[in-house]
Symmetry: C2
Subunit: 419 residues, 2 copies
């Protein structure tokens, strides 16, 4: 589809969304839930068509020699469509995050002030190949009263068009306008650049993808953005750690699902236990993970020599950097220098070191004695997530329904004027 | 000072702040409060010098024929310095916003998750002539554990340098590093542009000033920003309003302090009461406020003909646009089109119209039967404010201490790994 559709496609769709968002912000929870249910039914009813369109993307991916792991992310199956529908059901069960407040107070002159949650308005999302993001992002934004502008990758365009058509078919049977979801069919880079400047119609843009996408967005957006997902996560094994737990945690954080952002990329090991711990760890990881060690590590176990770049790398693969450090302070300093403020863990029995690590590490999620793999909206109990924010503004960590809102102050008076 | 200092001034100072912020985030409430007290004492001790330096700015302002109202904003007096110190005392009394949580829970596998408030890190502020902002912004950011990079206007540079020198003198007697505050002395436009791109060292930039400054920042910043202050605020007088209250509210919202962002700029009047209300309002405002009316308004009262631009204008002056509308829906539509999402008020006795207005108006503060002038951190009970956010991300409305924080998730485990 590249470049075949006029640039004004994006403005037109963004305008439709802005208009639709005024109505959607007033929709009842029942109307939103009913619409989500109808969308789920429509996805099931249209599954043959969706799978057929997905097959076109798969064929194109094979022809362009896409890596097998990426093709797998792109592939839809009957089971995966069923999982999307299960995801929608989960979101139906969650509480409506809109028009609620835990802060209502009255000031001296009798004005009653309440801080109420309201939708953000129009949310833009720029994402890579996985077509399930299309359905997840739509469901989350609809439930939180937001409209959504989707800009998926060209490699998934047939799948995304089929999914959005099915979603719109469901919405047409509901009390919610089908205009609340729009897919940008122009998958050129220019379409992203145009989207990034549409402050008039888009309230926030969430990029989901690798570092180059995130940087493109941060450098060029005038619309406020929420960065997600880049995770160079560490596990630090303190002197006092229970070493068997430490081994299990490293193995889990590295290998349970290495391609995700909360997987561990570097292990830091206290020098006093390096001789004991490193061989245990190497044993447990043997044959699965390539180790890249600092000089001190290599005095104890065989490994590829680590270079400066290894400390900053998000491998997303069966590779682990290993560094021996003097103490918890050096570990904290290393993480401050190379970390991406995502998820960091310390394994220790030392109370003071645990507390120091928790306080001093500047990251979305900081762990004591647990795998970094738990940074996840569904694990945290949010039911689902829109991504994991690695920035400090607005939302940090897993973004569920409660992160897709803003607030407004409602002030009720009886004629008050300011003296 | 324009252009006389190397551009690297800003990078150097930003680096110092980033380093200082790591330490400051760990400072105890007592150390922060003691430091604020010492800073207040230092401002008093240095008042002669501060007033002498302020006099230089005033002379320069007079020489450049600055408007009297702006010179007044620039001028410091003994009383104004005393007020700054009172402001610091208020902030000392406020609760520390850091390392607190109202959300702590435990998930199935025993992991205990807490969502804790932490400082943003380094806050940049770009502001216009008022030198009291220098002290207010410093006190708020210090109490919330943040370092601050100040970029004031060239017209206030002597005052700002004297104030920052006094603040640093106070800090040197405390347990807090004097590095936590830095003033950019280069007041060229280039210094703003450089600051806007320093993502590595600055966590958020808050522009305080007119629309052109806000737009410069929004268009060029790669650092996340919080827009503040532009307020094209409306009061809508519904058919069922108590007209005497309505007149008082309009007079207050327009004239109590016309130069501020929560002052009213346009009054919308229901057509059924225009014949009664408009003459009452004109009477009450007579001789003070210039009225710019729509055609229907001018059928009832004499006024300057309003043109399209009047509906969008933030006068900040004794001028009021007046429009007759069909009903509350037309009022809501007008505000949606021309408003700046700051403060909006309806005067009505009609329950359904009040609720409709509260729900449908998309603004930081929405009022029933009260003046728009109350949108203010100290009125809301926040003790003070860093500005009034008119954006939807991170913070909206008055920004007090609780808006100058982010969160991190703290997860305590005993060996949990993900299945």
């Amino acid at each position: 589809m590249k470049g075949s559709i006029s640039m004004s496609e994006i403005v037109n769709k963004a305008q439709l969304l802005k208009k639709a968002s005024l109505k959607l912000s007033e929709a009842s929870t029942k109307d939103k839930n009913d619409a989500l249910k109808l969308v789920g039914e429509s996805l099931i009813a249209n599954k043959e068509l969706i799978l057929k369109e997905n097959e076109k993307d798969i064929e194109q991916a094979i022809a362009s020699q896409m890596k097998e792991s990426l093709i797998d992310r792109l592939r839809l199956t009957e089971k995966r469509i069923q999982e999307m529908v299960e995801g929608i059901k989960t979101i139906i069960e969650l509480k409506d995050p809109i028009w609620k407040s835990s802060e209502i107070w009255t000031i001296e002159n009798g004005l009653n002030i309440s801080k109420m949650t309201v939708p953000l308005g129009v949310v833009g999302i720029i994402y890579e190949s996985r077509p399930n993001v299309t359905v997840d992002a739509f469901s989350l934004t609809l439930k939180s009263g937001n409209c959504i502008l989707l800009r998926g990758s060209s490699s998934a365009i047939h799948s995304n068009k089929a999914l959005v058509a099915a979603i719109k078919e469901g919405l047409r049977k509901s009390n919610i306008s089908e205009d609340v979801i729009q897919l940008i069919e122009n998958t050129s880079r220019e379409s992203v650049m145009e989207m990034l400047k549409l402050n008039e119609y888009i309230d926030v843009i969430i990029p989901r993808g690798g570092n180059s996408l995130i940087q493109l967005v941060v450098q060029n957006a005038t619309v406020p953005t929420i960065e997600t997902g880049v995770g160079n996560c560490h596990v630090y094994i303190d002197k006092s750690a229970k070493l068997e737990d430490a081994v299990k945690i490293v193995v889990n954080a590295k290998t349970q699902r290495p391609g995700v952002c909360n997987a561990c990329e570097t292990v830091l090991v206290h020098e006093d236990i390096a001789n004991t711990f490193l061989p245990m760890m190497k044993d447990a990881l043997k044959g699965i993970v390539e180790l890249r060690g600092c000089d001190k590590t290599r005095e104890v176990i065989d490994s590829v020599p680590a270079v400066e770049e290894d400390w900053a790398e998000e491998y997303l693969d069966y590779i682990l950097a290993v560094k021996v450090v003097k103490d918890v302070d050096e570990a904290i300093e290393h993480i401050g220098k190379y970390g991406t403020m995502h998820s960091e863990s310390i394994v220790t029995e030392d109370y003071s070191n645990a507390e120091k690590f928790l306080r001093k590490i500047d990251a979305a999620a900081v762990y004591v004695n647990a795998s970094t793999r738990f940074t996840d909206g569904s694990v945290f109990g949010f039911g689902c997530e829109m991504g994991i924010s690695t920035q400090k503004m607005h939302a940090r960590g897993p973004m569920g329904l409660n992160e897709l809102v803003t607030i407004k102050y409602i002030i009720r008076g009886n004629g008050q004027i300011r003296e």
